[in-house]
């Protein structure tokens, strides 16, 4: 098992550095490009949600990658008092979505489809969202 953590500024321009971190750590444990892209998509969505919706802090967002023999878990940790629980979201009604010509808000739906596990936790002013993907 390996466990690595890095801290990133609250800015979309950090995404290339975040992807480099994921590429470096995950590539050592999973050579499957499709799995890597699914993890990147999920991390980007959670990170950008934290950047866009939590304006109460300037502190960095922590990303921790835990690699196991048969799975990879990634936690994003942010400082906030009133968290948005991404597990507590309605399923998308796609007929209505297309009818209303919407074009955003698909990220959380995608995380739920692409990841094997999604955990939300809020404790002592810190929100942790942890995603897990089985490798085999």
């Amino acid at each position: 098992m390996s466990n690595e953590i890095k801290y990133f500024n609250r800015n979309a321009n950090e995404l290339p550095m975040i992807f480099h971190f994921l590429n470096t750590v995950i590539a050592e444990n999973a050579s499957n490009l499709k799995i890597l892209n699914e993890l990147k998509l999920s991390v980007e969505e959670i990170f950008m949600n934290m950047v866009r919706h939590n304006k109460t802090t300037n502190k960095d967002i922590a990303i921790r990658i835990e690699s196991y023999k048969d799975s990879i878990s990634i936690s994003l940790i942010d400082h906030e008092d009133n968290p948005f629980d991404i597990l507590n979201t309605d399923e998308i009604d796609f007929d209505e979505y297309f009818k209303q010509k919407k074009y955003g808000g698909l990220g959380i739906h995608l995380i739920k489809k692409l990841m094997d596990d999604l955990i939300f936790d809020h404790d002592a002013g810190k929100t942790t969202i942890k995603i897990t993907k089985h490798i085999n």
């Binding site: 979309a12 321009n13 995404l15 290339p16 992807f19 490009l33 499709k34 892209n37 699914e38 990147k40 998509l41 980007e44 969505e45 950008m48 796609f94 297309f98 010509k101 919407k102 074009y103 955003g104 808000g105 698909l106 990220g107 739906h109 995608l110 489809k113 692409l114």
Partner: protein, 95 residues
């Protein structure tokens, strides 16, 4: 790294990783097209939900003018993303 380039007057090519940091560049680039537009995704390795949103927004813009958006050469990751969001029902695929 991400690039977008014009192949012809009705075809553009997206190259690399289309994440949220590229949203403004792609929005500005696609805005000028008022045709049935083909997007060649052969060299697009990754797309995020923000990237998808920009493609859907352009779909609605062009569809409102009577045009379509055609996608070609999608990799497995991008095919899955379109399937899971049911956007494969919206776009035309040139397989």
């Amino acid at each position: 790294m991400f690039k977008i380039k014009e192949v012809s007057q009705n075809e553009i090519k997206l190259i690399g990783e289309f994440d949220a940091s590229q949203a403004e560049i792609v929005t500005d680039f696609m805005q000028k097209y008022e045709v049935t537009l083909t997007l060649d995704l052969e060299e697009l390795s990754y797309i995020s939900s923000m990237g998808l949103g920009i493609l859907v927004k352009n779909y609605h813009r062009l569809n409102g003018m009577g045009y379509k958006v055609v996608l070609k050469n999608l990799n497995e990751h991008i095919k899955d993303v379109f399937k899971y969001t049911r956007l494969d029902q919206l776009f035309v695929f040139d397989e």
